[in-house]
């Protein structure tokens, strides 16, 4: 591009600098944090209108949302009355329970329906390499979430620097998807048969026989651990207010070792046999209850009874004083956790409180 010099001396005034600076200031000034916010494409209703008021049998849970349509003032511990309408399979009851330190306390027995009450599940896998991001789910890659669209699928061999990746038929452009119940269950196994290598693995709730009711025993009054935190191991960390199991990080290395991708939907969840739909990431869909003071929204409760909030609140700044489990204390909520960022494949890192011996987060023992 050749820039011709102007013949108009008047246009050469240094006052031309002013519009340039104004433009720059406007651009900088428009740098709202929302620009970087994750567009999940989810249909989550994060308003407090959906807060259940009659779903729990526990009469005095300490819950005080200030009435329908209002925000939650916040409070310590587990408050069963905050579960969203329809998210509980049965009323919340209280019973004695044994914690991992041998202490016997009272616990809430909470049974969730095992599917989200405030958003749809899926989509997960693309059907062809022409499918765009609106048709597919997400894949966490070292702190970043990627749309598993056609472009992502066709680039996998390059992306992982391994020519074995071939998730689609190069002649037809069709993606290998586990679109039957049988194939979904087979490919999701840690020792998946060789014929199920190079598949995009997706299971629907119908494939696994519908939502799985999951029960939890959560101490009514959290008991802080003495000494080291409790490791999550294979214990599902918690439960969300919208009726979904919060799961520990997905074993993506096992999935990828079989040259498979098992996308999460835009809400950070997917389905597998036995536990149905569950979250691996906090992407905003489970931010069920806004806080009156601008604190991060309430997502749910950990198995030790401490609440789990989203990573950031209105100020969009993550707390800088989190402990190893991703928890800290404030005057309103007492000790509580903050979920990790989308792409980190986790909510919390360990338990600061005692959990029930033998754990929860299992299908009910009938």
């Amino acid at each position: 591009m050749h820039l011709m010099p102007s013949t108009h001396a008047g246009r050469c005034s240094h006052r031309l600098l002013l519009p340039t600076l104004i433009l720059s200031l406007v651009v900088f000034g428009c740098g709202d944090d929302d620009d970087s916010a994750m567009d999940t494409g989810a249909t989550a209703d994060t308003g407090s209108d959906a807060v259940g008021e009659d779903t729990a049998d526990v009469s005095d849970t300490g819950a005080d949302t200030g009435g329908s349509g209002e925000c939650d003032p916040g409070a310590p511990g587990t408050r069963p009355a905050l579960f969203l309408d329809g998210s509980l399979a049965s009323g919340v009851t209280e019973e004695p329970c044994m914690l991992t330190n041998g202490e016997e306390v009272m616990c809430y027995r909470i049974e969730i329906v095992g599917e989200p009450t405030n958003h749809e599940t899926g989509p997960y896998c693309p059907r062809t390499i022409d499918d765009g991001p609106e048709d597919v789910g997400l894949w966490p890659e070292s702190g970043t979430l990627y749309d598993v669209d056609g472009a992502f699928v066709t680039n996998l061999a390059t992306f992982y620097d391994d020519p074995t990746w071939q998730l689609y038929n190069p002649d037809t452009g069709e993606v290998n998807v586990t679109d039957t119940a049988e194939s979904c269950l087979a490919a999701a196994m840690p020792d998946a048969p060789e014929e199920y290598a190079n598949f995009c693995v997706e299971c629907t709730l119908e494939d696994v026989g519908g939502p799985s009711v999951i029960e939890y025993l959560i101490p009514i009054v959290p008991v802080p651990r003495d000494g080291a935190p409790g490791e999550i191991g294979n214990t599902p960390p918690g439960v969300s207010l919208n009726g979904v199991r919060i799961e520990f990080p997905a074993d993506t290395d096992i999935i990828l070792g079989a040259y498979n991708i098992a996308p999460l939907d835009d809400c950070g969840g997917h389905v597998n046999n036995g536990i149905g739909y569950h979250y691996h990431e906090s992407t905003g869909c489970a931010d069920a209850l806004e806080q009156c003071d601008g604190h991060a929204p309430l997502i749910g409760f950990a198995q030790d009874g401490y609440p789990i909030y989203a990573m950031t609140g209105e100020d969009r700044v993550e707390p800088s004083d989190l402990d190893a489990c991703r928890g800290h204390t404030d005057d309103v909520r007492g000790y509580h956790y903050h979920a990790a960022s989308p792409g980190e494949n986790m909510f919390i890192g360990c338990f600061s409180g005692e959990i029930v011996d033998a754990g929860g987060g299992r299908p009910p023992r009938r």
Binding site: S24, F28, A37, G143, T144, A228, N234, T252, L322, G349
Partner: protein, 139 residues
């Protein structure tokens, strides 16, 4: 100066094409690998594809130790290392042009961080060009 202005404009237009590139290796392995030779509770740190730092401690999750972040993501090196990151990706053939990377709430993507700087460069380039024109027009 015109060359610089042109370069900045081209960088502004095309420079973000590689911001979603991924490095080799399995996803999320960085958080596991840094704890592979560590003990439970040891401090750990890893970086994502954009050079953002994740600082935490090694916790037992599932059957392995995993670096669980407990400090805010440090993105101070993201912008400064843009050229390095792009070069690395190019060297390894990871020109993964993907326009749908999701950023965490409260986080700024590499692309997001680059735009204000690009605008500033354009502003400075325009200013310099204007001054040059003015100098040429003056007797």
């Amino acid at each position: 100066m015109r060359t610089l202005f042109t370069f900045m404009t081209l960088w502004l237009v095309f420079g973000d094409a590689t911001t979603a590139s991924a490095h080799s290796g399995f996803p999320n392995m960085a958080a596991r690998e840094v704890c592979a030779d560590s003990a439970l509770g040891d401090a750990c740190e890893w970086r994502d594809a954009h050079r953002a730092r994740y600082i935490g401690t090694c916790r037992r999750v599932s059957e392995t130790l995993l670096c669980v972040r407990h400090r805010p993501i440090d993105r101070s090196d993201v912008l400064r290392d843009h050229d390095h990151d792009t070069a690395h990706d190019a060297e390894h053939g990871h020109g993964h042009e993907h326009g749908d990377v999701h950023a965490a709430p409260g986080e700024t993507t590499e692309a997001g961080a680059a735009w204000p700087l690009g605008i500033a460069f354009v502003g400075l380039g325009g200013f310099a060009w204007t001054r040059r024109r003015c100098g040429e027009d003056r007797p």
